[in-house]
């Protein structure tokens, strides 16, 4: 394929992934890597590098809008970033030592989880806000967020459990070039009992910082191919921007089902190709 056509098709694919990722809340990176490797025949290391870059772009782009609304809890974000950035560096180092077959299989398993989350519907608040436990009090993690014009106070629990989950999310992000936002949200709203809306926006804040930690390692190892990263970054950014604009009007439920189905198919393809040694 000529450079012009290749760039155009990759850009179009990335824009679609960014658009659907924004609408379904799963992010674009999760479908980008399988499509680049399976459909475009790109080596998984280049695909991971390009995807990681686009993850930073969407995180910073979306955060610019969220930060004004006062949902993000910077203390929780910064504290948990200690875990995610260390995990991300470990993951980025591991990516160099694991074979591409293993990477493809691990990626496929993460896709299965994402598909399941998408197909089983939206997971909103686990319950009413809780009191902080002793450690969370010491770390002053409690905060408040706007609910119907008033500020609702909330506490935080199980910091060590959340911290460990975040280390795992960071490692997956560094290993696979994804945002791992789904796991970050689980760590906050399930384990630490933080309100869903605060969890998602704080997770978004953390995704960019986490990805930046492994981006340096990726760059140093030559995973970031500028001619490939260019259409991927511009496409995902544009698609995600458009996605957040139409988010309010779209019928998200049926879209989540279709997207979940696609992700599941990609997962099976990734795992099969990994096992057969074709990736």
């Amino acid at each position: 394929m000529s450079a012009l056509l290749f760039t155009f098709f990759v850009w179009l694919t990335a824009a679609t992934a960014g658009f659907l990722g924004a609408l379904t809340g799963l992010g674009g990176g999760v479908v980008l890597v399988p499509v680049l490797t399976l459909a475009f025949g790109v080596d998984i290391k280049y695909a991971i590098g390009a995807s990681l870059v686009s993850v930073i772009a969407t995180s910073s782009g979306a955060a610019a809008a969220y930060v004004r609304e006062g949902y993000t809890n910077i203390r929780i974000g910064i504290l948990l970033e200690v875990a995610t950035t260390l995990g991300a560096i470990l993951g980025a180092f591991l990516a160099a030592y694991l074979s591409t077959h293993v990477l493809a299989i691990v990626f496929g398993l993460v896709l299965v989880h994402s598909a399941w989350r998408s197909l089983s519907g939206n997971h909103q608040d686990a319950g009413p806000p809780v009191e902080s436990d002793a450690l969370a009090k010491k770390l002053r993690l409690a905060g408040s967020y706007p609910v119907e014009g008033k500020r609702q106070e909330y506490g935080v629990r199980n910091v060590p459990a959340g911290f460990s989950l975040m280390f795992g999310a960071g490692a997956l992000s560094g290993l696979l070039g994804i945002g791992a936002g789904v796991i970050k949200v689980i760590a906050m709203d399930r384990a630490m009992k933080i309100p869903f809306k605060v969890s998602t926006t704080t997770s978004n804040f953390m995704i960019g910082v986490t990805a930046a930690a492994s981006a340096g390692v990726y760059l140093g190892r030559g995973y970031i191919e500028p001619r490939l990263a260019m259409p991927v970054m511009l496409g995902v950014l544009g698609g995600a921007f458009l996605g957040t604009k139409v988010l309010i009007k779209a019928k998200v439920k049926s879209l989540r089902l279709i997207f979940g189905g696609v992700v599941l198919l990609l997962a099976v393809e990734m795992i099969m190709n990994g096992i057969r040694g074709r990736i």
Binding site: A3, L4, S60, R68, A211, G220, G222, R227, P231
Partner: protein
């Protein structure tokens, strides 16, 4: 929430927006230069061969971009992009310092150190 908090949040929001736009502009510029010169070349990324040494280090990328080398411009745009979340952590550290919150100044600086270590590893 104090006035400094609110101001800092707006500053952070603007910083992110400017950072992403500057990065996208630079990547787009490099991409246009690349396509103008190489549009009909055949491309394949099937086999992984690490990027050239110049495209893997911060000084190398800077050097290539100054010479209006298309791939250097794209990589410079990507470096700006990678720098935006790093700048955000630095701003958070300043914010906590202004609030006299020593614990979180320390936590922010630790995260910043991890990020800088990662970039040093690249260069």
């Amino acid at each position: 929430m104090g006035m400094t908090d609110r101001k800092l949040e707006l500053l952070v929001g603007n910083l992110l927006r400017v950072g992403v736009l500057a990065a996208a502009f630079m990547v787009g510029l490099g991409g246009a230069a690349y396509l103008a010169h190489h549009h009909s070349e055949r491309v394949s990324y099937k086999a992984f061969q690490s990027e050239s040494a110049e495209m893997r280090t911060v000084p190398g990328i800077w050097h290539a971009a100054l010479h209006f080398h298309s791939e250097g411009l794209i990589q410079l745009g990507l470096l700006i992009l990678i720098a935006t979340p790093v700048a955000r952590v630095a701003l958070a550290a300043i914010g906590f310092y202004l609030e006299r919150d020593r614990l979180y100044v320390g936590v922010s600086l630790f995260v910043l150190a991890v990020l800088v270590y990662s970039m040093m590893h690249a260069g």
